[in-house]
Symmetry: C2
Subunit: 551 residues, 2 copies
């Protein structure tokens, strides 16, 4: 007898970090959880972002009921514009997450055509065969949920990203009781975040950074620059509160930081007393020891406000001797060179730079639960089947081992993107595979400015061609040594070669000599300007690869 099975089909985030996306299917009903992006490895030149291949969803488009988002981080929502441009389905998310999504969809001119539906913890909703209850969890971002999904064969719980912050800044507690309740009633499968599975112990509360930050605020005699991820609403809140306590006016610099602060303020996650935040233009009216500058660019992104301030190339932010710069974030692997380059620029200006090097006290905490938290949630939920999500293969494998060691799980299964896991009340097994993989996108965006409004697939390169701009920079004089070489292939760009050369020269001319030795910045600038020229004159969008020769 052929009975029906529930299908769990990860499309992204199982086998890599980022671009989280997972489909659940019961007969003709499909729901999708999260729609993230990831940033490309350096080997992939000229690619801005990577999103999951959603062939499986487009091939079954009449069955896809909705996309449900667990929270507003890019690795969970950043792929939405791409997915929605291929697939018109409603999007369900909490209030704060929707505010981020709205901005993103507006940028890509997808807002009007998309149905956005707000969800609330503890309020169930039904999509086809699925009834979903959002459960409040804590994380480095606000308004995050896990999802309990009732299906015909049992309850599936998807944790989203979480840590168990037992003293959250906004008093919105991790809903241990609802998890416990489901655990008591019986859960078929738990899909749990594997990000920090290699770390023992417990992740500290978002609150844990306050004492050391307070100390730094107390000790700083000049301007205080505070940089963190723009989505770190709790961190921004702490920075603003400390500014108020220490008699500093706050200035917000950088587009992402401004947007994020505005949304958080609108939705009541940050309360800003009147007069605390001033405009950048007003900075000159205050002495240095009365200023705190919230600034984006904590990962050393070449075009960010902080990177520009570090080389005296920001209209408002000037770094002087004795200023303090706090990088209240972790150093994402792969970004070390860019970050330390910025730190060196700041150090040369005799600023005091405080970053998360393990020796400065706690100025950053992770948003993901460590081993004890993972074990705790498994013990509460006691699922029959355990499926690790969010991580490289090694993390998933280790998480499966950890789950089995708790004794609270009957069976742990490692699945990867494209695997189809079939479940019923008694059994879970990997069946066929569906198409899954990565789509590379040249979004045309720089860190702070989205210029092109349509995401594109790298596949059309065969039509749009490739441009190589070869620059010979003299390291000593920071001057361009020869005429830049421009190689254009695969599109009729030959007649703009001279113009392209001039654009490149003009771009470099506009950089200070310090900036010219920062190749990341040189490349990004050249790429943006060439892209603009080529698109304007030819309507094409080739891949642009700046090559720097040091002479």
């Amino acid at each position: 007898m052929q009975t029906n099975k529930l299908k769990i089909i990860p499309l992204g985030g199982l086998g890599e970090f980022g671009m989280n996306c997972l489909a659940l299917r019961w007969e003709d009903d499909i729901i999708v959880i999260d729609a993230g992006l990831m940033f490309p490895e350096t080997e992939l030149l000229g690619v801005d972002i990577v999103v999951p291949d959603i062939t499986y969803l487009t091939e079954n488009r009449e069955h896809v009921r909705a996309i449900i988002l667990t929270h507003g981080h890019e690795d969970h929502i950043g792929g939405l514009p791409w997915i929605l441009s291929e697939l018109k389905v409603p999007v369900y998310a909490t209030e704060f997450t929707l505010a981020y999504v709205e901005g993103k969809l507006e940028e890509h001119q997808l807002l009007d055509e998309t149905t956005l539906i707000e969800i609330t913890p503890k309020e169930k909703f039904t999509l086809g065969a699925f009834t979903i209850e959002p459960i409040r969890v804590t994380h480095s971002l606000v308004d995050c949920v896990a999802l309990a999904i009732e299906t015909p064969v049992g309850v599936i719980i998807h944790t989203g990203d979480f840590k168990i912050d037992l003293a959250p800044l906004d008093d919105k507690a991790f809903d241990l009781h609802t998890f416990a309740e489901y655990g008591k009633r019986g859960v078929l499968a738990l899909l749990q975040d594997s990000t920090n599975v290699e770390r023992s112990g417990y992740t500290p509360s978002e609150r844990a950074v306050i004492p050391r930050l307070h100390e730094i605020f107390s000790q700083t005699k000049k301007k205080l620059f505070f940089s963190c991820f723009s989505s770190s609403i709790y961190r921004i809140r702490i920075a603003l509160e400390l500014a108020r306590k220490h008699g500093r006016k706050a200035v917000v610099l950088g587009r992402s930081m401004m947007e994020s602060t505005e949304i958080a303020q609108d939705l009541g996650y940050i309360e800003v007393p009147p007069g605390l935040v001033i405009n950048p233009g007003q900075m000159r009216d205050y002495p240095p020891d009365e200023l705190m500058i919230l600034i984006s660019g904590t990962q050393g992104e070449p075009m960010s406000a902080l990177s520009r301030a570090a080389v005296d190339n920001h209209k408002h932010a000037h770094v002087d001797a004795g200023d303090t710069v706090i990088l209240s974030s972790r150093i994402i692997p792969g970004n070390e060179k860019s970050i330390f380059r910025v730190i060196d620029h700041l150090s040369r200006r005799e600023a005091n730079v405080i970053f998360d090097d393990g020796s400065h006290g706690l100025i950053h905490v992770s948003g993901h639960g460590c081993q004890e938290e993972l074990r705790l949630l498994i013990n509460l939920v006691r699922p029959k089947f355990f499926i690790p999500i969010h991580g490289d293969y090694r993390n998933l494998r280790r998480h499966a081992q950890l789950a089995m060691e708790t004794g609270a799980v009957e069976h742990a299964l490692v699945i990867e993107d494209g695997d189809v896991l079939e479940l019923d009340q008694t059994d879970a097994r990997k069946k066929d595979k569906v198409t899954a993989g990565r789509i590379l996108i040249d979004s045309g965006s720089t860190i702070d400015v989205v210029e092109d409004l349509v995401v594109r697939d790298r596949r059309i390169l065969s039509e749009d061609g490739i441009v190589l701009a070869i620059l010979a920079i003299n390291k000593r004089s920071a001057k361009i040594e020869r005429e830049p070489e421009i190689v254009m292939r695969g599109f009729g760009g030959a007649d703009i070669t001279e113009e392209a050369r001039e654009v490149v020269l003009k771009t470099i001319d506009g950089l200070s000599s310090e900036q010219r030795t920062d190749y990341g910045m040189v490349k990004e600038k050249v790429r943006v300007e060439l892209k603009r020229l080529i698109q304007k004159t030819t309507g094409r969008r080739p891949m642009i690869i700046p090559v720097i020769l040091e002479i």
Copy 2:
């Protein structure tokens, strides 16, 4: 009255990590301490290594008396072939360091023409106005020295790289007494390693990894792969001793690991009982639990033995379920993606991979002293002037602060590459600058094979041109989707375009589908094969940039 001054002129390693090189000048006598290389940032495509610009030395070639090496790490000796090809001077170093240098010079056909002179701790030698005493220090490598240099204005001490290992494996103690003696008599300037200045406390002894490694050896039921830096002689020694204790035969795989082990054995740093080490071909005669494979590739280098073993592409090393792979080294920032790619490949083969993630117990220790060791040496030496060496600007600045806080130093000075610091008995000040910078070299070498025997300067690119190989790889099928595009510029390569295309296709054909999704490996292979073809047919050595498009 114009009195003479001693000049300290850093040419590399002050303002960056790597390519350490520093000149001391008194009137017409110049000595050079260390001649290192560094590895390029990813922005510099097609560059293998970076070495210091030695214009200052070549412009004063008749005055350069010698190069003295503190120890055998690449960031201290790797630039020698480049420097010696520009400047014929004798090289002074300890026995072990010289053994490394000999191999390197032989590869570059510079051995016959170079005078190598062995130095020994406590045995002074004179070079022009300088009398130098090597002082034994401990580090992650063996036979390392600091240098005490008597000059007409006072004693200068250069620490080289060091930690203070109070229980060294080879019983060759850090010579605290000689440092103390100099400190008592008076030291004009101390130049001290800044690498770990951001870490508090004390670096553990090389011995400290033994308990955890012992435990891992005890728990492993199948093959045990042990990977570490090939220069980590102590680590290799520990691995071999544990293999012996646990009844495992040792196999050494990877060219650098084999060379290093051989040198260490020849010079008595490793004692290998007869029968312990077997040839790779004999592995099949032993059950898995009687084998320990010392293997190179701890940083995920695409062509290394470990990377190849991880994708079943090594003649001798096969990774099976239940095998253990130990990466006994740190993850060098920038290498995360490559390393985790290898770890994921190994995990898929159900190997147990143990790397330095902070949660596995101590399987690696640093070779550089932390803050307490830095303070201790400053207190012993009590120099008038303190000059931090080896580090980014931020490290140097912090080290200067740390030195001043000890109270044992009169004045700390931060200088950078190209600065000329002039000293006499009472005064030290920065004067003019000399030419300094980085020279980018395409050595033609892959990880394990040095193919071209002459180092080259990127400057000649204008003569040798550039080659772009554009590959479209289908991520799903791992197949090449289109004919590769070959763009050749700046040399008459047009008539070999077709041949180049075929070489690229053939190279990709020779890779497994797993390897083809490892873009680092694909690029390296394509680069090596194209280089070979172009050099053979045209005698030119253009910069080769493989570009991968994922489809």
